[in-house]
């Protein structure tokens, strides 16, 4: 997938774009329907997401993120500014006031997380209750008190399940705390 995205950026490769579409469009649709969108509305937003992929492919850096991670950020940002009509400010890497990352291999930590097979295995191995709170945090943008209400469990339990889930994913990926 990463190389397909690079091909779209560098050679405007429509065949590669088709493959990306076939993989991601049904997943992004699923992602959006988890937010309560009906199938038609979800497809409208998926179309918008795929157009953005075409427009912004040149911003993708395979050394920094997997294509799925980049797609996740596209879908997340669409949800914020297209559905919620809000803003999600971000740091600007070209800003002279940004403090640069001097740690050699600054992305080594995420390089581990770029191992798709290990990451997916780690997520699949999570106890169901931990995976559910993680999915709610990422896909349904529910604040933690709402997740607690939704699941009928105390807020402290939501927080500890999230912590446990992230800790477990990290240790499965061999990251140091």
């Amino acid at each position: 997938m990463d190389q397909l995205l690079v091909a779209v950026a560098t050679t405007r490769d429509r065949a590669a774009f088709r493959e990306l579409f076939d993989y991601f469009a049904p997943r992004i649709k699923s992602f959006l329907m988890r937010q309560g969108l009906d199938a038609q509305a979800a497809e409208d937003v998926v179309q918008e997401a795929m157009v953005r992929v075409w427009q912004k492919a040149h911003q993708y850096d395979p050394a920094k993120a997997r294509a799925s991670t980049w797609m996740f950020t596209i879908a997340r940002n669409l949800r914020v500014d297209f559905l919620r009509k809000s803003k999600r400010p971000e740091p600007n890497v070209d800003d002279p006031a940004l403090v640069p990352d001097t740690q050699p291999g600054g992305f080594a930590l995420t390089a581990q997380a770029q191992d798709a097979a290990r990451l997916q295995a780690a997520l699949a191995d999570l106890p169901n209750e931990q995976r559910v709170v993680l999915e709610l945090s990422f896909f349904e943008e529910k604040p933690h008190p709402e997740i607690a209400e939704h699941l009928g469990i105390p807020l402290g339990t939501v927080k500890s399940r999230i912590r446990l889930a992230l800790k477990r994913v990290r240790s499965e990926l061999g990251e140091d705390e």
């Binding site: 579409f21 179309q47 950020t73 740091p91 740690q103």
Partner: protein, 220 residues
């Protein structure tokens, strides 16, 4: 810049997941500009989000959808990428305020129009869309901020100078999360004025009667 106080993992997760509204995101994003360690942390959380996208159950798409997308593509799209964030101000020398904060203010520290709060303190209100209040606060060196409690959450990011309270010492880049249970008495460190970005989701409530009388005038 040595940062010892970082946002909680929970707050970084909410930022990575897109669940934070504009004011809170502004505080996190500005900390990220100053803190490479938290940038790596957020990149790692986004990678987890990417992993969850991979394992999502795909929902079948309608037949005509790819063609509809194709019809909207042009080969030179890449050249016309628009940025939705507030217009950035080109820095004169090395700016002190990082993006995205500088763009929200439209100036660096030396070009700001501060609003006097009394007691030697100043504020600058930042426009956001979420009902929370985002502001820069400037507390004179060595002076206390009146003791107060919060009805809601408060995030504070130090940009220049430092402050201390019962929970510790906060220098440039440090990040504090406080909730309604914390009655703290921040005190600006001597040396230079303490300038911080403060986000509150309810008006601050000062504890002493004198401070309560003065509060409406302070507007905080």
């Amino acid at each position: 810049m040595t940062i010892t106080h970082h946002p909680s993992e929970e707050l970084l997760l909410d930022y990575a997941g897109g669940g934070l509204s504009e004011s809170w995101s502004l505080a996190i994003a500005t900390h990220l500009a100053l803190c490479p360690a938290c940038r790596r942390e957020v990149a790692g959380l986004e990678a987890v989000g990417g992993g969850l996208v991979d394992v999502l159950e795909p929902a079948a798409c309608s037949d005509g959808m790819f063609d509809a997308v194709l019809a909207r593509l042009t080969d030179d799209d890449a050249a016309s990428v628009t940025v939705a964030s507030p217009p950035s101000v080109p820095p004169a020398a090395a700016p002190i305020l990082p993006e995205p904060l500088r763009g929200y203010i439209g100036a660096d520290l030396d070009g700001m129009a501060w609003q006097r709060l009394g007691l030697g303190a100043y504020q600058y209100l930042i426009e956001t869309d979420d009902g929370a209040t985002a502001r820069l606060l400037r507390i004179p060196a060595g002076r206390p901020v009146p003791e107060h409690t919060h009805q809601g959450q408060e995030l504070t990011l130090v940009l220049r100078g430092a402050f201390s309270d019962a929970t510790g010492h906060y220098g440039a880049g440090d990040f504090q999360e406080a909730d309604e249970h914390l009655a703290h008495k921040p005190h600006a460190a001597p040396g230079e004025d303490c300038i911080c970005l403060a986000i509150t989701d309810a008006p601050l409530r000062f504890k002493s009667l004198a401070a309560r009388v003065v509060q409406p005038f302070l507007g905080i």
